[in-house]
């Protein structure tokens, strides 16, 4: 290791220390007994269950919107495609709070909100609002990854599958989707992590009502605001552990993919 390498490792160590410091700071605020009690409290359990339900529902919608859209974008050229493609990235770079305000106005008692309310669907300040907000932030992640995945699949496989008698629908499910699958799964995990940690947009659309629209991040916010540090911390730790597990999954998946790719090369 050269001197330059050693000096470059200093900021790395400093940042690693900061990451560990945050985790330790979170975990060390409570004794094990207090932490256990807070994690098992009805509010934390509700927040965890609600977060999982909402984020998985949002993920479902993100997948059924994102994958076909990505396939269409990857396979077709049309006037204005570049503009549309850029537009679809806007939710990725938009501050979530701003996205939430936009969704609030869109689904409030004006524009889309009124006709939906006439149909008995009220999204604002309801658990469904949380699903809408999280779908909005998760879909572009699924779409972006899926588009790249479909673009990387050689069109020759599709042509070959056609000559073998497979219909376009079968080709999509039996050839293109499996060949693009790993990248799509990576995008799905990232989108799920993003949805489960989503705060700003969910707060604006679904509101912050205990035991009704209380996702884990909203539980942290509500309990810190009201001085219930124990529940806030337990919810925060549950979020951190969930995110960590999802990151590990992603890492395992990419390692498996590397191994397969190396196998192919050999």
């Amino acid at each position: 290791m050269t001197r330059l390498d050693r000096s470059f490792s200093v900021p790395l160590l400093l940042f690693a220390f900061l990451v560990i410091g945050v985790l330790v700071a979170l975990a060390s605020q409570l004794s094990f007994g207090e932490l256990k009690a807070s994690v098992l409290s009805s509010e934390t359990v509700f927040a965890l269950r609600f977060s999982l339900t909402v984020s998985l529902a949002a993920l479902f919608f993100a997948l059924i919107i994102g994958i076909p859209s990505a396939y269409f974008l990857a396979r077709h050229d049309f006037p204005g495609k570049g503009l549309l493609d850029t537009l679809l990235d806007v939710p990725l770079v938009m501050p979530p709070l701003v996205a939430g305000v936009g969704l609030l106005f869109l689904f409030g008692r004006t524009m889309l909100g009124s006709p939906l309310a006439d149909l008995g669907i009220d999204l604002v300040l309801s658990p469904y609002g949380a699903v809408v907000a999280q779908t909005y932030v998760a879909t572009p992640i699924v779409m972006r990854n899926s588009k790249a995945a479909f673009e990387s699949v050689d069109r020759g496989y599709e042509a070959m599958a056609m000559t073998l008698g497979l219909t376009p629908l079968k080709i999509f499910f039996r050839v293109n989707l499996p060949l693009a699958g790993r990248t799509i799964v990576s995008g799905t995990i990232l989108a799920w992590a993003r949805a489960i940690g989503e705060f700003g947009a969910t707060l604006m659309v679904a509101g912050a009502t205990r035991f009704r629209t209380e996702t884990l991040p909203i539980a942290v916010y509500l309990n810190i605001s009201s001085g219930e540090v124990g529940i806030a911390l337990s919810c925060a730790l549950v979020l951190v552990v969930t995110a960590f597990v999802l990151l590990l999954l992603l890492r395992l998946l990419s390692r498996r993919r590397d191994a397969i790719d190396n196998g192919r090369a050999g």
Binding site: D154, A159, M160, L164, L179, G181
Partner: protein, 364 residues
């Protein structure tokens, strides 16, 4: 009865092609790269837009999508599905057949046995050798129960020995299955061996040549200009350098050849791979030579140049445009280069066939 009929088929690469291939016939199309051979196969398979008519088994294919044509197509790149085992590839190809899962697996075993790789059903394509992949792709095309089989340069990506074996396999398969087959190649020997009839394709036009016995390339007609000639140079004074190279003396030149760990008597260099110019061409500092242009033969698109080097002749082939750019003529002195990756070494016996030096390579 005609199984395949094309009438005035045109694409940006094909010029009003008419073709009739009879039931059970093995028809070979031979021609240089870029002549439109692959496009023609893609038109028949329904993969390339075109004008004109395509008839398969007496039915017009106008508006018929590829998945309803029952055409088995083996492309140059094979495109075996990498996420499936060899068996999975075969079973997927039987998707449209009214067979149970068990029957499909039984048929997969039968087809794998037919192409001689029965023991590899559980393997993924990435773990198969070039020849095995080629066999697997043929088996997969057959698995879809096609009425016609299209083979695009089936031996272009396998070594010479495997290619010879595969040729015999294809001959046997064709005899056994009596399946109407169109095979495209740029190799005249392959064409003569495999075709009941053959046609030559040049610049998007197809010229029929009847039975393969009267094919172009026989001695009286002279070899078609596009068939790539291989320079075959006898070697002496071999010395292994231990750095992956062998030093040899060929045609009075000291050349470095990749060491493949086996004995060899000749090196071969395709004519299109001999690089030369008035000034030394760029690239590797080794395997350079000087020579004199002693003959030039040209067609619309290519020029063949005979270069005399130390009383031996090398044949180089290049595009006409490039030749005219260089401004060279007979009698001019040139600087040449043979790149390591363009050389192949072999144990061969020389034989004079069709006025060209042909090789009988040792198959051991």
């Amino acid at each position: 009865m005609s199984e395949i009929q094309l009438t005035a088929v045109s694409t940006p690469f094909l010029r009003s092609v008419d073709l009739t291939v009879h039931h059970g016939e093995s028809f070979v199309i031979v021609g240089p790269s870029g002549a439109g051979k692959t496009t023609l196969l893609r038109v028949i398979a329904g993969l390339a837009p075109h004008t004109g008519q395509v008839w398969l088994g007496g039915r017009s294919m106008e508006g018929v999508p590829p998945y309803l044509r029952r055409v088995g197509y083996v492309s140059q790149d094979l495109h075996l599905f990498p996420h499936l085992t060899f068996e999975g590839n075969l079973v997927l190809a039987m998707e449209r057949l009214p067979l149970t899962k068990g029957e499909k697996r039984a048929k997969a075993r039968e087809l794998a046995g037919l192409v001689g790789i029965g023991g590899l059903l559980g393997r993924r394509p990435s773990t198969l050798s070039g020849g095995e992949k080629q066999r697997a792709a043929i088996a997969r095309a057959l698995a879809s129960a096609p009425c016609v089989l299209l083979l695009d340069e089936p031996f272009s990506k396998v070594d010479f020995r495997t290619a010879l074996r595969l040729r015999n396999e294809i001959k046997r398969l064709h005899k056994q299955l009596e399946l109407t087959t169109i095979l495209v190649t740029h190799d005249m020997a392959e064409a003569r061996e495999l075709g009941d009839r053959l046609a030559v394709m040049q610049l998007g036009s197809l010229q029929l040549h009847g039975a393969s016995g009267s094919s172009p390339g026989s001695r009286d007609r002279g070899g078609p200009w596009f068939l790539e000639r291989e320079n075959v140079l006898a070697c002496s004074g071999k010395r292994r350098l231990g750095n992956g190279l062998v030093e040899v003396v060929c045609a009075g030149l000291t050349l470095f050849v990749p060491d493949e760990g086996r004995d060899f008597s000749h090196i071969t260099v395709p004519s299109s791979k001999i690089r030369f110019d008035r000034i030394p061409p760029g690239g590797s500092p080794i395997n350079r030579f000087q020579g004199t242009i002693t003959a030039v033969a040209s067609t619309d698109v290519t020029v063949q140049v005979v270069i005399e080097v130390n009383r031996e002749s090398l044949v180089a082939e290049l595009a006409s445009d490039r030749w005219h750019e260089m401004g060279l003529a007979e009698g001019d002195l040139i600087h040449g280069l043979i790149r390591l990756q363009d050389m192949d070494s072999c144990r061969c016996e020389d034989a004079e066939i069709n006025g060209q030096t042909a090789l009988r390579r040792d198959l051991v």
